[in-house]
């Protein structure tokens, strides 16, 4: 008779993979399931930001902590993970976008994250291809980028080396008390269950406040040096906030390959993955507004992906009351890559009863939240 693992993790995206590693490192036996293969879902479609964000104090606390954890993790990951600490340059079109930035610098500093205001002349020195006439920028040098599916693969390999049983291509269709049901009709006993199935988590836990928030990405051919840091317009924050309506913002990443990865768009259209060419055009216009040379880069392809969004833009990390020993690790919206190691630590702390590295209560899945008002087509 097969052993029942201490913990069954459902979903081997970056969040599930990091959680499986953390649990295995804590000495627990782990079963890790993925419907397709590690990194195949939102992780495989993601940009791969390692970014500190401060919409709310809770978001700042978790992104700052998780970025620290990335710093520790990065040297041990293979070259293919393409981790580059290129920094984030938040581009301000208007002076008012920089109002209050001193407070943000102070808040970042309280979490050990360096940040500074950069005047336009220095922005142009660092990024000669950025358009002239900006009001300045907010520079966060410790941010970075990675190649998410390679990280998921490496972490799953690490979990396996620590004894985790990896079930790739096995879709979990339902969960029951101490049991999971697979697409092939079989049932497997489970100890604790961690649902890290991203946008598909509500299929396992009806009523979980997570909806797919679609995004488009465009990758260009190799054009090394065109852009050096991650370039995001301040308007991105407004784009990320308005949950109901479709929006775009300039978000350009330099990749290790010399390619540019261009985002971003946000829409709520269910799981319709088709390309919305009107929105895509607006997104590329936005990128070209800030970096006109984008127009001359050659485009290789575009694709869409789905972010697991919650009504209050904070992830769902912790115990869920519908079943005994059921844990949730999803709802990271566009920050799943950044937040994976921090999320893993909170889940491991919860399951093992060890002290949590930061206060987990803001992320408790059963917290009070506004209702999800969506325009799902």
């Amino acid at each position: 008779m097969a052993r029942t693992a201490d913990v069954t993790v459902i979903g081997a995206g970056l969040v599930g993979a990091a959680t499986a590693v953390g649990l295995a490192e804590a000495g627990l036996s782990v079963d890790l399931y993925d419907a397709e293969f590690p990194g195949s879902g939102s992780t495989g479609a993601a940009m791969g930001h390692l970014i500190t964000m401060d919409d709310t104090p809770a978001q700042l606390a978790l992104t700052a902590y998780s970025c620290q954890r990335w710093r520790v993790l990065a040297p041990s990951l293979p070259e293919a993970c393409e981790i580059d600490y290129c920094g984030t340059l938040w581009l301000a079109s208007h002076p008012e976008e920089l109002v209050g930035v001193r407070d943000r610098i102070t808040a970042f500093a309280a979490h050990g994250v360096r940040a500074e205001v950069m005047e336009e002349r220095r922005v142009r020195e660092q990024e000669p291809n950025v358009c002239p006439g900006l009001a300045g920028a907010f520079w966060v040098p410790d941010d970075g980028v990675c190649y998410p599916p390679a990280v998921a693969r490496a972490l799953v390999d690490r979990a396996a080396a620590l004894g985790a049983a990896v079930h790739s291509g096995e879709r979990v269709t339902a969960i029951a008390p101490h049991e999971i049901h697979l697409a092939n009709g079989s049932r497997r006993p489970a100890g604790a269950i961690v649902v890290a199935a991203g946008v598909h988590s509500p299929e396992l836990i009806p009523g979980l406040p997570v909806v797919p928030r679609k995004g488009h990405l465009v990758i260009t051919d190799r054009q090394p040096g065109l852009v050096r840091s991650q370039l995001i317009e301040f308007g991105y924050l407004h784009s990320a906030h308005a949950l109901g309506s479709a929006s775009v913002a300039c978000n350009i990443q330099p990749r290790r390959t010399g390619q540019l990865l261009i985002g971003s768009s946000r829409e709520l259209v269910g799981f319709d993955g088709r390309i919305n060419r009107v929105l895509l055009n607006a997104m590329l216009e936005r990128a070209a507004k800030f970096v006109p040379a984008v127009n001359s880069t050659r485009v290789l392809r575009t694709w869409t992906g789905f972010r697991p969004a919650t009504p209050d833009k904070l992830p769902l990390i912790g115990r869920w009351p519908s079943l005994p020993d059921l844990w949730i690790a999803t709802g990271h919206e566009g920050l799943g890559i950044t937040l994976a190691p921090g999320t893993a630590d909170l889940i491991v702390a919860g399951i093992t009863g060890r002290p949590a590295p930061i206060d987990p209560s803001p992320y408790a899945p059963d917290r009070t939240m506004p209702t999800m008002t969506t325009a799902v087509a």
Partner: protein, 424 residues
């Protein structure tokens, strides 16, 4: 500013199938735009610099398209399509949006390459690739040439190279003698194909033709210098300047995939009137399965009539019988020239599989899915979008075709963007 134009029928690809389709539709009163990537019409098979040098069938078909009022645009390509009714076309750097009621896909085929050591060396080209370069003006007089691959293209290219003064050292056909005999018997029943085969063999009569023969390794320092071939079980090295390789042809399905057409066994699926699974979209010729120019012309005729609303004409008994015969020949081609196991085993762990991203064989697990190989090892992630390594992986690992993600080709972001904005 981008312009929005209209044509009743847009045909993509001006090879035999596309020319026939465009002509048939235009003769039935439709306005027809024929978009072709090449510098001149004719596709790969009728690639030319001087129209007078073409076979009479080609000249007749080109004259027919002209007389029917087909609007041919050369050096142009389809970049994107939001729907089959909205095509974004790059007219040599100017992007226009074309609205249309009917699309006929006639995008032809490309060569299938099975990786082997040294195949990325300059001087190693496709068999058809060498032919294309030759027709594009490459001088081959007094150069030494080895052709080693599979399929009828071998002989026709050997003939063309020999006529241009190239010294063909060897024509190696990987298929076995028995399989080739069965194929020859079928060709014997077709006077036109037989005449063609005889003329090709006559043109390259001084070159040895060997069955059960393939390239094992290409050698050279920065450029091809010699090739090691396995000739009926014996290895030998041949000094050469050009090595033409290729294991048959595979359909170009990318436009069909972009328009959401069903693809089966690597070809765009069509019904008896060449209609795809998507309303308003037809596909003709090699992109629906490789079967040669005569059959492609028949399919083009059928689809051109059907797209112009002449279903009765498209379904005519004579056309349908010719179509069926062409499809049978296509299946025979596929069986006869399928890559053999020894050829599929040539690559070493260091051999490059994906040429765009320099991915060696050792980075790939045959048990993966194509998407897994893409995300984990960058296979097919490069600028050719898996056009080269996709068919290699299908042959080597049994993987399904790559997904197609817009845009097609590699337009600049500015060009593509200008075709995306709203039509109003």
């Amino acid at each position: 500013m981008r312009r929005v134009r209209h044509a009743d029928v847009v045909v993509i690809g001006a090879g035999p199938a596309g020319l026939a389709a465009a002509s048939a539709a235009a003769e039935r009163g439709r306005s027809v735009l024929l978009v072709d990537q090449g510098l001149r019409p004719g596709g790969q098979i009728w690639r030319h610099r001087d129209e007078q040098a073409l076979p009479s069938a080609a000249r007749r078909l080109m004259a027919r398209a002209r007389n029917a009022g087909v609007k041919l645009v050369s050096g142009c390509r389809l970049v994107d399509a939001g729907s089959p009714n909205e095509l974004v076309i790059d007219f040599r750097g100017r992007i226009d949006r074309h609205q249309t009621d009917a699309v006929i896909i006639a995008t032809g085929a490309r060569e299938r390459f099975i990786p082997f050591p040294g195949w990325t060396l300059p001087g190693v080209t496709g068999i058809g690739g060498l032919q294309a370069l030759l027709k594009g003006g490459l001088p081959v007089a007094d150069t030494r040439i080895v052709l080693a691959g599979s399929g009828p293209l071998l002989l026709s290219v050997a003939a063309a190279v020999a006529q241009a003064g190239g010294r063909v050292q060897l024509v190696g056909e990987q298929a076995g003698a028995a399989a080739l005999r069965r194929f020859a018997i079928r060709v014997l029943r077709d006077p036109a194909k037989l005449r063609q085969a005889i003329s090709y063999r006559w043109a390259c009569r001084s070159a040895p033709f060997r069955t059960d023969t393939w390239a094992v390794r290409a050698h050279g320092d920065g450029r091809l210098q010699s090739v090691e071939v396995s000739e009926r079980g014996h290895l030998r090295s041949i000094r050469c300047d050009w090595l033409g390789i290729g294991s048959g042809l595979v359909p170009n399905t990318d436009l069909g995939q972009l328009l959401q057409c069903q693809v089966e066994h690597g070809a765009i699926a069509v019904d008896a009137l060449q209609a795809t699974s998507v309303a308003g979209v037809w596909a003709v010729g090699e992109c629906t399965g490789v079967k040669g120019d005569e059959a492609a012309t028949i399919e083009g005729e059928i689809a051109g009539r059907a797209a112009a609303g002449d279903a009765a004409g498209a379904g005519s008994t004579a056309l349908q019988a010719a179509r069926d015969s062409g499809r049978r020949f296509g299946r025979l081609l596929e069986e006869t020239f399928a890559p053999r196991p020894e050829v599929l085993a040539l690559a070493t762990p260091d051999t490059i599989l994906c040429r765009c991203e320099d991915v060696p064989m050792r980075s790939v697990d045959p048990g993966w899915t194509p998407r897994q190989a893409k995300l984990w090892a960058r296979v097919g992630m490069g600028v050719c979008q898996g056009a080269v390594c996709g068919p290699s992986c299908t042959a080597l690992f049994g993987w399904s075709a790559n997904t197609v993600r817009p845009p097609l080709g590699n337009p600049s972001c500015g060009e593509w963007k200008s075709g995306l904005d709203s039509a109003d």
